[in-house]
Every structure is written in structure tokens, then in C-alpha cells.
């Protein structure tokens, strides 16, 4: 465990070095936040409630979605791709440490670095330019935190599974982009899926993506009852279990494959 904590620490140091990336993301998220805010303001003109949510909560949703997107930045896909490409996977696997554990620790370190560099500025900009994104009911905070932790894990596992495709020797750059944008669309991070037709909602509700963004954000803005949150989190947890199982299975196969075919 201590090893992995050290990896986290090292990654924080590394991430601090890339200032340009950090500012780039703040600017991008600001643009997304502001345009979304204007979009929702226009949509709500003359109406109090759309889809059980008032305009004010929707603006909170927009800001928190940007904040959450920082937490859900993963580097594992590119990390795997790069080490397969450079041929360092094999030597990485030589070390008495699990490489996927290392990748996970690196992503944690990266996010910890981004907490101050990215998340706080985005909250600040959102508060100044749009509104203060206060939580609807502070008593739901534990539920919110747990669901965010689970969505982080689900998101990471999906990213790692994508990254492992790099082992079957093709370029996954384009695929990573497709996944990234598809995920933002299907998870309700930009447009909550309660604005979609009921049939589409039903389909998306059975996929893991809405449990990454929409579920924790709904808890935050107080859309729905506590019973609904809990049933949502139950499905979220089942997805987490299922995806973890797939992940561990694929991981062991990938390690074996590298061992047989060489890095």
C-alpha cells in the first residue's frame, strides 16, 4: 500500500509540472459552463420548472458537472497506449508491484493535483459568473460523496478497459476521443437524460453512463427523493461490481498475453 501512496505522491509532483494543460482545461470548462448556462436560461424563459427542475438548480447542475468532469479525468488509456508503444510494459511488469495499481495511483495523484489547480478555480469562476452552486439538501452529502466515489471508479474502470485494447496492437487514439464524447453525451453531463424521450431514458438508464454524472448531480441538486437516490445507487453499485469483475478478468488475460508475446 505504501508503494502506491508513493506513486500518488510522485504523480502529484509530475502533474504540477504541466501548467499549460491546467489552464487549458480551466478555459475549456469555463466556456462549457457559460454557454450551458445561457442555453438553460434561454430554455427556462417564462417557465419555472422543466422536468421537475427549476432554472436555479439547473445552473447548479451545469457548474457541478464541470467540477465533476475534472474528477473524472483519466489518463490510464493513454498511459497504457504509450507504454505498449514504447515497449516499456514488459519491464514495468517486472517490478514487484501491480501495474494497474500503479496506473490507478497515478490517476489519483493527478486528480489530487488538479483539485487545487483546476477544481477550485472552476468552482470560483462558476460562482462569480453564474451562481454559487450550493447543495440542495446538505443532509444528502454522504450519499453524494459515496455516489461520486463510485462514479469515479466506474469511470476509471471503463477507461482502463478501453486502454487495454492497446494491447491488441492497434492505435486507440480515435477510439479514446469517441469514448470521451459519447460518455459525456450518454451520461447526462451536458444535457440531463430526463430531457430525452422516455424510451431513450429507459435504454440509457440501464447503461452504466448515467451513474457516472447524472446520479451524483441529481443528488446534489435535489432532484428526486432519497428512496430514488438509494435505488439509483444500488444499480450504480451493481455496475461497479460487474465492471470490476470484467476488469480483473481482462487484466489477468492481458498480463498473460504480454508474457507470452513479449512487450
Amino acid at each position: 500500500m505504501k508503494k502506491y501512496l508513493y506513486v500518488v505522491k510522485t504523480q502529484i509532483i509530475t502533474s504540477m509540472a504541466y501548467e499549460f494543460n491546467v489552464y487549458g482545461n480551466i478555459i475549456m470548462q469555463t466556456i462549457i459552463m457559460i454557454t450551458s448556462a445561457y442555453f438553460w436560461k434561454a430554455l427556462y424563459k417564462g417557465r419555472d420548472m422543466v422536468g421537475d427542475v427549476d432554472a436555479d438548480s439547473m445552473l447548479t447542475y451545469v457548474i457541478m458537472s464541470s467540477v465533476l468532469s475534472v474528477l473524472l479525468i483519466t489518463n490510464v488509456e493513454r498511459r497504457i497506449e504509450r507504454s505498449v508503444d514504447r515497449g516499456t510494459v514488459a519491464t514495468d511488469m517486472m517490478k514487484p508491484i501491480n501495474i494497474f495499481g500503479v496506473y490507478f495511483a497515478e490517476d489519483i495523484g493527478n486528480i489530487l493535483a488538479l483539485f487545487f489547480q483546476n477544481m477550485l478555480p472552476i468552482i470560483l469562476i462558476g460562482s462569480l459568473m453564474i451562481k454559487v452552486p450550493a447543495m440542495a439538501d446538505i443532509r444528502d452529502l454522504p450519499l453524494f460523496i459515496i455516489s461520486v466515489a463510485e462514479s469515479f471508479l466506474i469511470n476509471w474502470i471503463i477507461a482502463a478497459l478501453f486502454g487495454m485494447m492497446a494491447f491488441t496492437a492497434f492505435n486507440i487514439d480515435a477510439l479514446i476521443q469517441v469514448k470521451k464524447h459519447l460518455l459525456r453525451l450518454l451520461s447526462g453531463s451536458i444535457i440531463p437524460i430526463w430531457f430525452f424521450p422516455p424510451a431513450v431514458q429507459k435504454v440509457l438508464g440501464s447503461l452504466p453512463f448515467v451513474y457516472i454524472y447524472q446520479l451524483p448531480l441529481s443528488i446534489y441538486i435535489g432532484r428526486g427523493s432519497r428512496a430514488e437516490y438509494l435505488s439509483g445507487m444500488k444499480i450504480q453499485f451493481l455496475w461497479l461490481l460487474g465492471l470490476s469483475a470484467v476488469f480483473f478478468y481482462v487484466q489477468s488475460r492481458v498480463v498473460r498475453k504480454v508474457m507470452v508475446q513479449g512487450g
Binding site: K2, K3, Y6, V7, T10, I13, T14, A17, R86, G87, T88, A90, T91, D92, M93, M94, K95, P96, I97, R256, M259, V260, Q261, G262, G263
Partner: protein, 321 residues
């Protein structure tokens, strides 16, 4: 210490046919062929030996090293390091192994060298005292401390190689595998690297196994060489003995004052160009002094020199080129 028993490795290759049609065919019905990269190798290496693996590109050296260091699983046979089967008890065995691949670095490009070492210190759970001592020792040989604060991406190839060597030795492994460590290095970096290998072998009794195309490396470092070609073991033994056996001759180069050169009955004239003639003789039945004495009776000699049969001739012969 290291026991390699009947080691073989097959690679499965997908046959790719040219053109779009071939690409589609390859996707739908891939034709797989197996290629034997290493065939039935067996040998034993003792603690404290420095063994050089030589062979042409694609001979199977790297594959063998990868199997011996636990990176690749052999198709057949096994590798025992201190009686531990490396592919079965990998986690345990790798703690005693250090690996450096000349063409890839295991250092983190985004970090300073010292930070990379600290990370490895934690991964291998090396305690501070041992760590400090190792760094001190290696600093004396390689001068590593002066580049500890430099980011790896800004390093020259020679500096990075030094860094990689120290990284591989941090956990004080008993066996160090080096795959083409001197590739692309300049003369002084090569010299430092050879010194390093000799030192760790002498002081720490580290067993070193290296592959190289640099004959200087072999001559400087290895008492024992293993020649591999087409995945098979061609030669295994003492360097000098192999040289004596494969090429039991030397060449005497004689320069005269004009273009005519006398023959010598007991050796063969291999070349005669201008004023210079070359005589090849068997080491065991003749000495250069005798030939010079015989020749100088017939003609006045201006200058002489002796060409030793070097390791490169051995390799040429062993590779069959």
C-alpha cells in the same frame, strides 16, 4: 545459480497479405504461422560470472534474455534462478533480477532522476540505509550524483544509460541482465559502463549477462561467451578457448622495399598488395619470430606487424558469413 533447461520459444505470427483484400482477409480469416525464435537452449551460469551473448540480429538473443529475466514465458523448458522457476514464481524471482534494455528506458521521463530512484526505492521496499549505500557505491563508479537533479527527458543518451543502470541495481539484485547496453553510446560513456560492470561484478559479486554487438564489450568484460544463431546454441565456453579453436591462426603482415614478396613453405600467403604481404600461420606450430627470421634471409624487411584473430573473425565464422 542460473539454470536454463531445454528452453524454446515459439512466436505466433499473423501472416499479412498485401493490399485491401489481404487486409480484409487478415481480419476475417487470419493465417497464423508459428516461428521458432529459440530452440532447445540449455546452459548453466554460476554466481559471479559475466557471460556475453552474441549473435546476429534476430538470432534469438533478446528473446532468450527476456525469458531468463521472466518477461516472457517460454513455450517449452524452464529457467531456474537460485532453484526458483522464474515463470512460476515470478514475483519472488524478479526481486533478485535487474534488467536494462539499451533501447528502452525504465526511467520516468517526467521526473528528475533522483525522484525516479526514490519511486523505485519504495516499489522494491529498499530501506534507507541500503539505498544510501548503493547510491554512494554507484556514484563512485558512475558519478551519478551530479545528474540526480536533472529531468530524465533532458538527459543525453549516456546519462540516461547511467541512470538506467543505477535504477536496475538499486535493489541489489544478484543477477543483472543487460540487453545491448552500449548501443549508441560514445567512447567515454562506453568506458564508464564497462568499468561499472566490472566493478559490480567484483565488489558485489553480481552475475552479469549481456548481449552486445560491440566486440570491445566482449573482449573487455566476458570470460565466457555464448554464441546463438537461428535460435540455436552454436558455441558456449571460454572466450580464448573458442577463439583458439575456431581460429587457431594469426596473420603476420610484412612490408618490403619493393613489390616482390617471397613465399614461406609453412604458412599461407593470404594477401599481396604492393609492398605488403600477409602470411597466415598456425599458432601452435609456428611463431612469428621464426617466420620473420626465415623471410629476412630471402629479402630485406622494412616493417612487420601481427594481426591477432579477433572476436569479430570468430563471429564471422560462427555466423557463417
Amino acid at each position: 545459480m542460473i539454470d536454463v533447461q531445454n528452453l524454446s520459444k515459439d512466436y505466433i505470427l499473423k501472416k499479412k497479405e498485401p493490399g485491401l483484400k489481404g487486409a480484409i482477409k487478415g481480419l476475417v480469416m487470419p493465417v497464423r504461422t508459428t516461428m521458432r525464435a529459440v530452440n532447445n537452449l540449455s546452459f548453466h551460469i554460476d554466481t559471479g560470472e559475466i557471460v556475453g551473448f552474441i549473435g546476429p540480429n534476430g538470432a534469438g538473443k533478446s528473446t532468450t534474455i527476456k525469458m531468463m529475466s521472466g518477461i516472457l514465458t517460454p513455450t517449452e523448458g524452464r529457467v531456474l534462478i537460485d532453484d526458483i522457476d522464474i515463470s512460476k514464481h515470478r514475483k519472488e524471482a524478479v526481486k533478485n533480477i535487474g534488467v536494462v534494455f539499451g533501447q528502452r528506458s525504465q526511467l520516468n521521463w517526467d521526473l528528475r532522476l533522483g525522484e525516479s530512484f526514490e519511486l523505485l526505492k519504495h516499489i522494491y521496499q529498499i530501506d534507507q540505509k541500503d539505498y544510501d549505500r548503493t547510491i554512494d557505491d554507484l556514484d563512485k563508479i558512475l558519478g551519478i550524483r551530479e545528474i540526480m537533479d536533472k529531468p530524465v527527458r533532458q538527459m543525453s543518451l549516456g546519462q540516461r544509460m547511467k541512470g538506467d543502470l543505477v535504477a536496475a541495481m538499486l535493489h541489489s539484485p544478484g543477477v543483472l541482465f543487460l540487453d545491448e547496453p552500449t548501443i549508441g553510446l560514445d567512447v567515454s560513456a562506453k568506458y564508464a559502463l564497462r568499468k561499472f560492470i566490472k566493478e559490480i561484478n567484483k565488489v558485489r559479486k553480481t552475475t552479469v549477462i549481456l548481449t552486445t554487438h560491440d566486440l570491445g564489450d566482449i573482449q573487455e568484460l566476458c570470460e565466457r561467451i555464448i554464441i546463438i544463431n537461428h535460435g540455436e546454441l552454436m558455441e558456449d565456453g571460454n572466450l580464448n578457448e573458442i577463439v583458439d579453436r575456431i581460429a587457431p591462426y594469426k596473420t603476420l603482415v610484412v612490408e618490403y622495399y619493393d613489390e616482390s614478396a617471397p613465399e614461406h613453405v609453412r604458412c599461407e600467403m593470404t594477401e599481396h598488395k604492393g609492398n605488403v604481404a600477409k602470411y597466415r600461420f598456425m599458432k601452435k606450430d609456428l611463431t612469428a619470430a621464426e617466420i620473420i627470421a626465415d623471410l629476412s634471409k630471402e629479402k630485406t624487411i622494412k616493417d612487420v606487424s601481427i594481426e591477432e584473430t579477433g572476436i569479430d573473425d570468430i563471429i564471422k565464422i560462427a555466423y557463417g558469413t
